[in-house]
């Protein structure tokens, strides 16, 4: 009977994750629709191809090395221990027989794909910020950096039950406010700064010009599809059925987070929808009902509450989401006006600022909760865990300082700094940004790749302004 129960549990788990991968594809349908809608007709084909090929680049590198990073780098490496070597790391090596069809391992590919779909999100978010001026070849390299190096490196520290920031700092980020969204937002900010704004985005007196999306409906619809895929992401972050009883003699099946801490599908269902609602309500008011920002704020609401949505009360999740959406909206326009940062899709705000807020809020609201079960044996070079606080039972405790450090690591170090360095190298090599003539004429124009051939000839007021730069196409205008 026990064997049958175990077999049923394994088969259910395999199928569960397999389905979440399919659901998470919708995130990418939505992100692509969102980005496509925000792009002007002269760049549409390039945007579609660049975005999609970024996912291919993440996939091949996820197979070759990134999956192994997740399992091997939990101690830094060389912060609290060396590169890990155990059954999990061995199975994740690209030449392992677990990394292919194998009757002895039914699930490796499903786990690999679930994490891969998280990684695709990183490249997709970055793609939106860089539209209409980044070169495809450079973006492919950046997709590998953010999708298969920086995010997963940090995830092995803070999105792993035995990661050193989880164990030592009490970092807890159940549905990835920080490990995915704050990190992606920091990367977008660095990319937008090094890349520079689209030519003509800011006028000679610093005025901000509105470059309208070519299809706002498509962008808004894309956001709704992202919500749907995000649901699959939430499901994928759980272990759906596992014995959670702390006593060996008894069995109690339940659901856990990625840290192995108990939650329920009911909890995340309440909190996903209530944080979405908080974001939408705040977004509606602060943007005065502008659909693009109202729905973007809904997404910011979910992102804000995600770090603690395994444990929040639904009304707490709603208010955390509402505040995060308000911060994202206000910060987007403040940074755009004050620092002349051109983020055509608002990704820095919706993912970055909302994600950082989510981490800080989690640190205060869940102060004292176990971040994960204590695993002192996994931290090789230090003798104790929970440096910033432990629970009475000896587990590392969630705390504000640990979460703020987590925000600095995600948004600042792995997001902003790492991307800034790589963008600078690509810029120095002369392959980061399109030549100004190509940008002004449009990436699709020369190759005759009209996505809307029957709309040829439509000109917006901004394009009339842009044509003024055609007589002096220098990089000084960028």
């Amino acid at each position: 009977m026990e064997d049958q129960l175990e077999a049923l549990t394994i088969i259910f788990t395999e199928f569960y994750y397999w389905v979440t991968v399919v659901m998470m594809f919708l995130i990418h349908v939505g992100l692509l629709a969102y980005e496509f809608g925000a792009t002007r007709p002269k760049n549409l084909a390039q945007t579609l191809t660049r975005h999609t090929m970024g996912l291919a680049m993440v996939t091949i590198t996820w197979f070759l090395f990134a999956w192994w990073f997740y399992w091997a780098f939990t101690n830094g490496p060389f912060i609290t221990g060396g590169i890990l070597s155990n059954d999990f790391t061995a199975a994740a090596l690209p030449w392992s027989q677990n990394m292919g069809p194998n009757l002895d391992d039914n699930i490796q590919g499903v786990f690999w794909a679930a994490f891969l779909l998280f990684s695709w999100v990183m490249a997709s978010i970055l793609s939106g910020t860089m539209i209409e001026r980044v070169r495809t070849g450079a973006f492919m390299i950046l997709a590998v950096v953010i999708g298969s190096v920086t995010w997963v490196w940090h995830a092995s520290w803070g999105w792993h039950p035995e990661g050193w920031t989880t164990q030592l700092l009490g970092y807890h980020d159940a549905y990835a406010s920080g490990v995915i969204h704050a990190l992606a937002g920091g990367a977008c900010l660095a990319a937008a700064i090094v890349l520079g704004p689209r030519t003509g985005k800011f006028g000679p007196n610093g005025e901000v010009r509105d470059i309208k999306p070519h299809n706002p409906f498509q962008s808004v619809l894309g956001l709704f599809i992202i919500y749907t895929g995000f649901w699959g992401f939430y499901a994928a972050c759980n272990i759906p059925i596992i014995d959670i009883s702390p006593v060996e003699e008894t069995i109690r099946f339940g659901t856990t987070t990625i840290y192995g801490t108990p939650t329920t599908l009911s909890a995340i269902t309440f909190n996903f929808l209530m944080s979405l609602t908080g974001g939408l309500m705040a977004g509606y008011l602060v943007s005065r009902g502008e659909p693009y920002w109202t729905l973007s704020c809904g997404l910011a609401g979910i992102i804000s509450a995600s770090a603690g949505n395994d444990l929040y009360h639904p009304i707490i999740a709603m208010f955390v989401g509402a505040i995060g959406a308000f911060i994202a909206y206000k910060m987007h326009f403040f940074v755009e006006h004050r620092f002349k940062v051109d983020d055509p899709v608002g990704a820095i705000a919706v993912h970055g600022y909302a994600g950082v807020w989510g981490l800080i809020a989690c640190g205060f609201l869940l102060w004292g909760y176990p971040a994960a079960s204590a695993a002192p044996e996994s931290i090789q070079w230090v003798d104790s865990i929970g440096w910033l606080g432990t629970t009475p039972g000896g587990d590392p405790a969630i705390n504000p300082l640990g979460m703020i450090i987590g925000a600095v690591l995600t948004f600042g170090l792995f997001g902003f700094l790492a991307t800034w360095v790589v963008c600078k190298i690509l810029a120095a090599a002369g392959i980061l940004r399109e030549p100004v003539e190509i940008e002004l004429a449009g990436a699709d124009t020369y190759a005759n790749m009209d996505m809307y051939p029957y709309q040829e000839g439509a000109v917006t007021p901004f394009e009339e302004i842009e044509r003024g730069y055609a007589n002096n196409p220098t990089t000084e205008n960028q």
Partner: protein, 79 residues
């Protein structure tokens, strides 16, 4: 050509069941080479296309390229 299995009789003795099991390192090596080569090729191809486009736009005038009625198109000899 036999690349691996020839029957499904003794499942307990079957682990990896793809062709060339045991030569995974070679498959990984080819994938790494393909990946790096792809980046280089894609960037070179993009450089070439952008240079051609810039020359074309200079020739016809960028203003004309941006004019919806005189939109710059792929030169006939490249079609």
């Amino acid at each position: 050509m036999s690349t691996g299995l020839s029957d499904w009789v003794n499942l307990d003795n079957i682990g990896a069941f793809y062709p060339f099991a045991g030569a995974e390192w070679l498959l990984v090596l080819t994938a790494v080479i393909f990946w790096i080569w792809w980046h280089v090729k894609a960037i070179r191809q993009e450089n070439q296309e952008m240079e051609e486009a810039r020359k074309h736009f200079r020739k016809i005038g960028l203003d004309k390229a941006m004019d919806p009625k005189g939109k710059a198109r792929l030169p006939e000899n490249r079609k």
